[in-house]
C-alpha cells in the first residue's frame, strides 16, 4: 500500500515508471533554447486547422498518439487518460481525445495540470487500478489570449511582469513496470491566495503556493534541498522566481543553486520578447516531456522535484475584483529508488 507521509505527501510503494514521453510545440517554442528536445515543432500555429482551438485539439491528439506509439503500446493498452488544458470546458483536451476511445479523466488545475495528471495517474497505478496511463496537458498562445486577454491584433502593450503562454502539448505514459525514471513521491498542494489581483503578474500570484508546497514536501518527507539535483517550478517566470526564493529563505530553505523554472528555460526572454517567461499548462508539460525526461535519461540529474504551478482564476473572477488563487503540486522523479 502506498503510504501517506505527513499531511499532503504520498510515497508510492511501487513507483510508476515514465515509459515514454512526447511533445509538440509551436514555432516560437521551436526557436527557444529547448528546441532540440521537442519531438515536433510546428511551423504554423494553426497547424492547417481553421481555429486556434482546433489546432490545440490536434496537438493533444497527435501528442497522445505519439506517446503511445513511442511506448510501443496501442490505445487499448491505456487504462486511463488524465489530461487538461486552459480553455473553457477543457475544449482542447476533450475534442482532441474524443476519437481515441480511451477512458478519460478531464482535469483543470490551470498550469499545474501536468502534476495533477501525473499524481492521479501514479495513484491509479500504485493502487492497482491501471497498468498504463497517459498524463497530458496543453496550452496554445492564441487560444489563451483569446479567452483570457485580448484579441491578437489589438494594439496593446504587455507589462514586463506578464508571461507568454506556451503553445505546446506534452504527454507522458506512466506504467506499472518499466525503465527509469520513476515517480516516487507526490505532494498535492493547497490553494494559497495572498491577495494578488493582477492577472498580468501571475508569477507573483502563484509563488506563495509554490513555496507552501515545496516547504510541505520537505516537512512531510524529511528531505532537504540537498537531496535533489534539481527543483523546477512550472511557470513562475523571472518575477515569481525571485519571490519564491525569498519566501523559502524566510523558512530557512535555500534552493537557489539547484532551482529553475520551466517558464524561464523554455524561452530566451531577451531575444524572444517574452517578458517574465513562458506559462500555460503546456509550458511545464513539454519541458518535462522534452528537456527534463531526456536529460534524466542522460543522467544529468538523477532526482528532481517537478513543481507545476497554477493560477486558478477566470476572466470573470478578475473582472469581479477577486484575487488570484494559486496552487502548486510537487512530484519527485528519480532514476533510482530503493
Amino acid at each position: 500500500m502506498a503510504k501517506k507521509l505527513g499531511n499532503q505527501t504520498i510515497k508510492f510503494d511501487l513507483p510508476p515508471s515514465i515509459v515514454s514521453t512526447a511533445s509538440t510545440v509551436g514555432p516560437k517554442e521551436g526557436k527557444g533554447p529547448l528546441s532540440s528536445y521537442f519531438d515536433v515543432v510546428l511551423h504554423d500555429p494553426l497547424w492547417g486547422e481553421d481555429s486556434w482551438e482546433k489546432a490545440e485539439s490536434k496537438m493533444v491528439k497527435k501528442t497522445i498518439e505519439r506517446v503511445i506509439e513511442k511506448g510501443n503500446l496501442t490505445p487499448e493498452d491505456i487504462d486511463y487518460i488524465f489530461a487538461g488544458d486552459l480553455l473553457n470546458q477543457l475544449t482542447a483536451s476533450t475534442f482532441g481525445i474524443r476519437g481515441l476511445a480511451v477512458p478519460f479523466f478531464g482535469l483543470f488545475g490551470a498550469c499545474s495540470t501536468m502534476a495533477e495528471a501525473i499524481t492521479l495517474g501514479a495513484m491509479a497505478i500504485d493502487g492497482g487500478f491501471a497498468n498504463y496511463i497517459v498524463a497530458e496537458a496543453s496550452s496554445h498562445f492564441c487560444s489563451s489570449e483569446k479567452q483570457f486577454r485580448f484579441p491578437l491584433e489589438l494594439g496593446t502593450q504587455r507589462p514586463l511582469t506578464a508571461s507568454w503562454t506556451v503553445t505546446g502539448s506534452g504527454a507522458v505514459i506512466l506504467g506499472k513496470f518499466g525503465p527509469s525514471p520513476y515517480v516516487t513521491y507526490a505532494t498535492t498542494g493547497k490553494i494559497v491566495d495572498l491577495g494578488i489581483k493582477d492577472p498580468m503578474n501571475m508569477g507573483a500570484a502563484m509563488a506563495p503556493a509554490a513555496a507552501d508546497t515545496i516547504i510541505t514536501h520537505f516537512e512531510d518527507t524529511g528531505f532537504l534541498p540537498s537531496d535533489y539535483d534539481l527543483i523546477i517550478t512550472g511557470d513562475l517566470g523571472s518575477v515569481g522566481r525571485e519571490l519564491l526564493l525569498e519566501l523559502l529563505r524566510k523558512h530557512n530553505y535555500d534552493i537557489e543553486n539547484i532551482y529553475t523554472d520551466c517558464g524561464i528555460e523554455i524561452f530566451d526572454s531577451v531575444t524572444q520578447d517574452t517578458h517574465a517567461g513562458g506559462s500555460g499548462c503546456g509550458c511545464c508539460a513539454v519541458t518535462l516531456a522534452g528537456y527534463l525526461y531526456k536529460e534524466m535519461k542522460n543522467n544529468k540529474w538523477n532526482r528532481i522535484l517537478f513543481v507545476p504551478t497554477g493560477a486558478l482564476m477566470s476572466p470573470g473572477s478578475t473582472q469581479q475584483g477577486e484575487s488570484i488563487p494559486g496552487i502548486a503540486h510537487a512530484v519527485t522523479i528519480e532514476n533510482n529508488w530503493a
Binding site: 481553421d50 481555429s51 482551438e53 483569446k146 485580448f150 484579441p151 491578437l152 491584433e153 489589438l154 494594439g155 496593446t156 502593450q157 504587455r158 507589462p159 514586463l160 511582469t161 495572498l194 491577495g195 494578488i196 503578474n201 507573483a204 506563495p208 518575477v239 525571485e242 519571490l243 525569498e246
Partner: protein, 148 residues
C-alpha cells in the same frame, strides 16, 4: 485575521519591490511621437481635401473615414498590433486605435460565425468607449444648451 492581512500586505510590498517597472519616460516619448505623427497625417489629409474645395466639416468627416480605413487596413495586415506594442497610448487614443479595437475582435471571433462571433463580439473593447462617449456627449450637450 489580522495576521493574514499583515501577511498579504507584506507580500504585496515584496511583489512591488521585485516586479520590473516599465520605463515611463521612454514609453511617454514613444507615445508622443507616434500619436503626434498620426495626428499630423490626419491634418495633412484634411489640408489636401480642403485644397480640392471642400469645407472644414466635409474635410474633417472625410479625414475620419480615411484614418479609420487606414487603422482597419493596418490591423488586417498584422501591423497595427506591432505599432501598438511600441507606441502604447500613442496609437490607442487616435481614431485609428478605435478602429483597431473594433476590427481586432471581429477578426478573432470570425470562427464563431457572423452573428454570435463577429456581430456580438465586435464591440467588446470599443463598446464601453461608445456607451460612455455617448453619455458624455449628451451631458456636455445639455450643459451647452443651458449655459450657451
Amino acid at each position: 485575521m489580522n495576521q493574514i492581512q499583515n501577511m498579504k500586505k507584506e507580500y504585496s510590498q515584496m511583489v512591488t519591490r521585485v516586479s520590473p517597472k516599465s520605463n515611463l519616460l521612454r514609453d511617454c516619448a514613444r507615445a508622443f511621437w507616434v500619436g503626434g505623427l498620426i495626428c499630423t497625417i490626419g491634418q495633412l489629409i484634411t489640408n489636401i481635401i480642403k485644397s480640392f474645395g471642400y469645407n472644414q466639416d466635409e474635410a474633417s468627416m472625410l479625414t475620419t473615414i480615411i484614418l479609420v480605413f487606414l487603422g482597419i487596413l493596418l490591423t488586417g495586415l498584422d501591423i497595427y498590433d506591432s505599432i501598438g506594442k511600441y507606441a502604447g497610448a500613442g496609437s490607442i487614443v487616435p481614431i485609428t486605435g478605435f478602429a483597431n479595437s473594433i476590427v481586432s475582435p471581429a477578426i478573432e471571433y470570425k470562427k464563431e460565425g457572423y452573428i454570435f462571433g463577429v456581430g456580438a463580439k465586435m464591440f467588446t473593447i470599443a463598446g464601453p468607449v461608445l456607451v460612455y462617449g455617448t453619455i458624455a456627449s449628451v451631458i456636455v450637450g445639455i450643459i451647452h444648451y443651458l449655459f450657451k
